[in-house]
């Protein structure tokens, strides 16, 4: 199946999934706080896969950044279990450590740019250069999981 077919399939599938959607929108816990002036610590989570399939795993993006220096360390990890029942079992080969090299603030958005640590293997669709956007008013984060854009909740 080519990518266009896959997208169409998901689009079609999502139309009939009101029940599935209701079942997978679950309370998420996380943290988003200014730990001191110029420092941001956050944790954001999303259940995967998305509708219409039942959530099977939890994608976690977390870390802290120095807004003034434009540096920080962020991790992306995938754990077994949906967000309300997330385990501490990490899926092998899914953890990424991102060294942040640039932080830009614009209104309620904080845009973090960096690179996955050199020693970590990437899958075919991933890019070593990573951008993560945190919307502090919406309390969501935008990041990629294996190259696919994912919106995560920070609460």
């Amino acid at each position: 199946m080519n990518p266009v077919d896959r997208r169409n399939f998901l689009k079609l599938a999502a139309k009939g999934s009101a029940l599935a959607a209701a079942a997978t929108v679950m309370p998420l816990s996380g943290v988003l706080k200014w730990t001191s002036q110029g420092a941001l610590k956050f944790r954001a989570v999303a259940g995967l896969p998305r509708n219409p399939l039942p959530t099977y795993a939890t994608f976690v993006v977390e870390g802290s950044v120095d807004l003034d220096r434009g540096t920080g360390l962020i991790t992306k990890s995938l754990y077994a279990g949906a967000p309300p029942a997330m385990s501490n079992i990490l899926f092998p080969g899914t953890a990424r450590t991102i060294r942040i090299a640039s932080v830009r603030r614009s209104g309620n958005q904080v845009r973090l740019a960096g690179a996955v640590e050199a020693g970590e293997a990437l899958t075919a669709r991933e890019n070593r250069n990573v951008t993560i956007v945190i919307d502090t008013s919406q309390k969501v984060a935008h990041a990629d999981f294996l190259g696919t854009a994912v919106v995560l909740k920070v609460v």
Binding site: A13, S29, P49, A85, I89
Partner: protein, 334 residues
């Protein structure tokens, strides 16, 4: 992910600072069933044994030995056999294990039916290394221990919204396997109406309670949401058609809804439930024909085609190449 790391893998329900057990299952990887296989013995009659045998394989403990390196001594590992299509077991193979002491643990197999129970294998050493310790007693054989996980699937592609480009997540993974060779006559003598499922039971507050269960591949993972996974695990197959989900609808309706959302036929829900693995041992084994399951059967591609009505046909992952052509059939551990 046939049922790997799905409930009962996750242990605790967490909301904010509060956490609570979601009840049985308790989330012990040692009793987390990954897959059930049932197939005609490939080398039937070629090894000097009388022909007419089947192989039943129940795998547990995903990612072994990372999460656990033994069988649970307080648990029951059950392969249940229904001979008359009522989704109630008529025969049960009950496998139990001694506590692990050092690197030693032993298993025991009983065959239970309406007439009572009989021990068919006892004091069978568990294999923790590359070698397969096989215990033979009359027409029965048992292997129990660490083995290459026979399941193959682009799990990360599944999690990544069907982007099946990541290859086989399970290529280097192990499980704890329970492999039984049994004479077909021990399965009840009515092959056309025989089906099986695997069940684990664990000791909780001094009593044995249901933990995990698996019939066909990936049913709970693909169809049940949230706490419904655990509700489903706790049911017996005979309850599948009438039991209610946490949303107050039947599991059949819930499955039908998911099938509709995936582009499949809602009527398929009545085929998928009760969740048992049909196994007519008078005919060749082939998961695609809803008859048993061999290690190399591409259950994911078959299931994808079925539940999406051909919208998706493959995850692009072929079977493993480390299967053995002789007992215990699952490859050496990685």
């Amino acid at each position: 992910m046939s049922d790997h790391l799905d409930s009962p893998g996750p242990i605790v329900l967490t909301k904010g600072d509060d956490s609570a057990s979601i009840g049985p299952p308790m989330g012990d990887p040692k009793t987390d069933i990954t897959d059930l296989y049932a197939f005609l013995k490939p080398d039937d009659g070629e090894d000097g044994e009388p022909p007419g045998k089947s192989i039943l394989m129940m795998n547990v403990n995903p990612l072994a030995p990372a999460l656990a390196n033994e069988f649970e001594s307080g648990a029951e590992y059950l392969i249940k056999v229904d001979t008359d299509k009522d989704a109630v077991e008529d025969i049960t193979f009950r496998v139990t294990f001694s506590p692990k002491v050092g690197e030693q643990q032993t298993g025991r197999v009983e065959r239970i039916n309406g007439a009572g129970s009989a021990v068919v294998i006892s004091n069978a050493p568990v294999s923790f290394g590359a070698g397969a310790i096989v215990t033979v007693d009359g027409p029965y054989k048992l292997f129990a221990g660490l083995r290459s996980d026979p399941f193959f699937f682009d799990l990360l592609g599944f999690i990544d919204d069907f982007n099946f480009v990541n290859g086989d997540f399970f290529a280097d993974k192990n499980v704890f396997a329970i492999v039984l060779e049994v004479p077909n006559r021990a399965l009840g003598g009515t092959p056309a109406t025989t089906s099986l499922w695997a069940r684990t039971r664990i000791t909780h507050n001094g009593a044995l309670v249901n933990d995990d269960r698996v019939g066909r591949a990936a049913i709970n993972t693909v169809f049940n949401h949230g706490v419904d996974k655990n509700i489903f695990n706790n049911l017996e197959p005979s309850q599948d058609s009438t039991a209610l989900t946490s949303e107050g609808i039947t599991f059949v309706q819930s499955f039908a809804n998911t099938l509709s959302a995936l582009g499949g036929s809602p009527a398929l829900a009545n085929v998928l439930l009760p969740d048992v693995l049909n196994y007519d041992y008078s005919k060749p084994t082939d998961y695609a024909k809803l008859n048993g399951r061999r290690l190399r059967d591409d259950v994911i591609s078959i299931s994808l085609s079925l539940v999406t009505n051909g919208g998706l046909t493959t995850d692009n992952v072929p079977p493993h190449t480390d299967y053995l052509d002789h007992f215990p059939y699952a490859g050496k551990p990685h």
